[in-house]
């Protein structure tokens, strides 16, 4: 999203070996900020996500929506989709750093972007997934895309009763929760990076 936007990024002569020319600093980041604003983005996080970051971003999101007197049920839906998407990144991103075994901390890299467009909130997540995980994820999302509200609700209840799938760490029900809160069918896409990985992206509108 950052690349190719604004003068600073497109014009190579504005950049030094180390990055942005200090003379161009404000212009460069103003263009970056302007691009985010133009896309209706409330906030966008890219980098290593942890449970603590999830909590803080979630609080900021709820405060922002509450201050703007957003309907309480809309706030809950947006927050819920945000939490499930962020926790999917924490669980499944193929880009991870794990701590020592006695420090059960795990940081996973990904992106979460929240904004508004056409009078709707949107929540987008993006992260790298292993190629081996792509077919199953695609299949789950396509299944959900083909379902109407009632079918999604019935599927949620069915999965709630199921014994946990050892390998999924709860992903199935998390994706159903996301689909359930969406106002229009979820959008998703996979962009191949190399033979071993894809950049996975999902957009949910509320």
């Amino acid at each position: 999203m950052v690349q190719g936007v604004g003068e600073g990024a497109t014009n190579g002569s504005n950049r030094t070996e180390r990055g942005v020319d200090s003379v161009m600093l404000a212009k460069y980041y103003r263009a970056f900020k302007h691009d985010l604003d133009r896309r209706g983005i409330i906030f966008s996080f890219s980098g290593y996500l942890s449970e603590g970051i999830l909590y803080s971003l979630g609080e900021a999101l709820r405060q922002k929506m509450t201050l703007e007197e957003t309907n309480v049920n809309t706030v809950k839906k947006v927050f819920s989709v945000f939490v499930e998407q962020a926790q999917n990144i924490i669980r499944y991103s193929a880009e991870k750093v794990a701590g020592e075994s006695d420090h059960p901390i795990e940081l996973s890299s990904g992106m979460v972007t929240i904004g508004t467009e056409n009078d709707r909130f949107f929540i987008v997540c993006g992260n790298v997934v292993r190629a081996a995980d792509e077919p199953k994820l695609r299949q789950r999302l396509e299944l959900l895309r083909g379902m109407d509200k009632d079918a999604i609700k019935a599927y949620y209840k069915e999965q709630l009763r199921e014994e946990p799938d050892e390998h999924s760490r709860g992903a199935t029900i998390g994706l159903i929760e996301i689909a359930r809160r969406a106002s229009i069918p979820i959008e998703f896409d996979f962009d191949p990076i190399d033979g071993e990985s894809f950049f996975f992206c999902m957009k949910v509108c509320i």
Binding site: F79, V83, Q87, Y156, G170, E177
Partner: protein, 132 residues
């Protein structure tokens, strides 16, 4: 044999749990969205199993006063409710109250969804105005 009461303070992402064995009451209050729900619900589940084995003729009152939970917590809540329903089927007197704010459609719907799977516990959906 007296059992120790089981209390867990709320954290940023997990509910307050108050399990009063002598008073025969259990309540969960707040929000629940830990990435791994078993860290919160695992110990509670064990305490619940131990307690249900000793319940006898007493009435057990369980109150869920939750404002938000993630999908892995939903699964854990379902398992707890199943455990309670099985105990009630086997003769325990159990009443479950599911509290929700009147304008909170999501929590109301969850209460309705959960109640459909319960055959033996007395289940009450209770709309509660939040304290001013």
């Amino acid at each position: 044999m007296a059992m120790e009461n089981f209390k867990i303070a709320a954290t940023e992402r997990s509910p307050e749990v108050n399990f009063d064995f002598d008073g025969c009451r259990l309540s969960l209050r707040g929000e629940s969205y830990p990435e791994d729900a078993s860290t919160v619900f695992g110990p509670l589940f064990s305490a619940l199993e131990r307690f249900l084995a000793t319940i006898g003729e007493r009435e057990f009152v369980v109150e869920f006063d939750l404002t938000y939970f993630n999908s892995s917590s939903a699964k854990a809540l379902m398992n707890m409710l199943k455990l309670l329903d099985h105990a009630a089927r086997d003769g325990a007197r159990i009443s479950v109250s599911w509290l929700f704010a009147p304008d909170d459609d999501t929590m109301k719907e969850f209460g309705e969804d959960f109640s459909e799977d319960l055959e033996h516990v007395a289940f009450n959906l209770v709309a509660v105005e939040p304290a001013a």
